[in-house]
Symmetry: C2
Subunit: 225 residues, 2 copies
DNA sequence: GCACAAACGATTGTATACAATGATACAAGA
DNA sequence: TCTTGTATCATTGTATACAATCGTTTGTGC
């Protein structure tokens, strides 16, 4: 089994890695609002470490675009604008389409089975209204699709974007109407891949993203630009 | 004028920023071969700085995928496989197409003028066989396209990929046949944008990347998969 | 009261000291 | 001879000390 690309960078067993993961999570979950200044000492004290690992984590967070470091001044949490969300969803729609197309030829038996199980379970939890499980299953479905593409580059890229819009997605799926529809679309993508129909797979995955974005607009989570 | 996304991260006036830029350049130019171990002290001594800025630069290089850090062990230069190159060119072909499409609506007068100048100059230097200038102009043409897309997200992404395949591209353009053809394709993209023809712009930019990749295969720079 | 400059404080930038970890070499035993 | 344990060393991980920089405040002159 190949190791996760991101794992290599986050390195959860070093202090720096833990600080990095923790800060990223906190930022994505909205603990630190947009524009907030992060002070090295304060973060260090909060997590019980010195400034060194904090600084290294900051440098990585900046490269991920989550914070902006102004030399000799400070580190500030960067927000995601509505335009960013829109751009990311359009990029994702195209790249997820590509991932689905490639998955037709590269998906493994094991991945296929997990995907089928995923779709099946999602139906169940949606009926029951288990939003937390629905959220996790949706995440996993997309990660599976990325992995099934057989391209480390594409997988890495899509996981990045996926992470990036987490904040907003967390609210989306809790709505009663999008859950079932999303499940149907997942199922259709799965069927296309199973039937080795690359064109359908690409088109369906593409539309799935567009629909997800439209849903966010309808819910008022983002402005339509 | 908005500042360069990358610039914010490289910060050329701090030691860390200089170390980062220098190491990235050295790796991309092939000074350090794939698999070579980079030692913090050695790099620090070579550049006349202590380990601290070197370490911070390492963390960023890892996130850019240029080196791989194994905890408590060392930092190793990561190579680009032929499959990676192929994947990136396919992604780029799609995303550059998107950038060209968006540029139709978002390009500024200033950008348009620089692009026209770029195409004009490229013709001149190609006739004269000035490979270094051709290389720079080609780089700039694509950066301009990214900037003209009006999307920071897309621009950032494409610049990343562009950087990533620099090693190989440096060899490509020096060949006598691809230069003129590449110029013609740039000109066609420019014309499509100028004529506000989004479909043509996307298709041409898309094909331009595919052609660039095919050329690398023909030259034997990468294996076709 | 206002303008401007100097000094202070807070924060980041860098260097260095110390701790922890992993690799290697070598010796002892099976 | 091969394996295994241990000591040693090189290298990274972390903490801390010191330097540089930016903002602000305070004080002085007009």
């Amino acid at each position: 089994m190949e190791e996760d690309v991101k794992e290599g960078a986050s390195d959860k067993y070093s202090l720096r890695g833990r600080v990095f993961s923790r800060l990223r999570e906190d930022i994505l979950n909205g603990k630190y609002d947009e524009g907030i200044e992060l002070r090295e000492i304060a973060i260090g004290e909060e997590l019980g470490v010195s400034r060194t690992p904090v600084r290294e984590a900051f440098r990585q967070l900046e490269l991920e675009g989550l914070i902006r470091i102004i030399p000799n001044k400070g580190a500030y949490v960067v927000g995601i604008s509505d335009k960013d969300v829109r751009d990311i969803y359009i990029l994702r729609s195209r790249l997820e389409g590509l991932a689905a197309r490639w998955a037709v030829d590269h998906i493994t038996q094991e991945q296929m089975e997990e995907m089928e199980e995923n779709v099946y379970l999602a139906k169940f939890h949606t009926q029951k209204g288990h939003t937390e499980q629905m959220f996790e299953l949706d995440n996993r479905f997309h990660e599976l699709l990325y992995e099934a593409s057989g391209s480390k580059i594409l997988e890495h890229q899509l996981k990045d974007y996926h992470q990036y819009v987490l904040r907003i997605r967390k609210k989306t799926l809790s709505s009663a109407t999008r859950g079932p529809q999303s499940n149907l679309e997942h199922e259709a993508i799965l069927e296309a891949i199973k039937n080795k129909n690359a064109d359908d797979a690409e088109r369906l995955a593409n539309e799935h993203m567009i629909n997800a974005y439209k849903n966010m607009i309808d819910k008022g989570l983002v402005k339509p630009e």
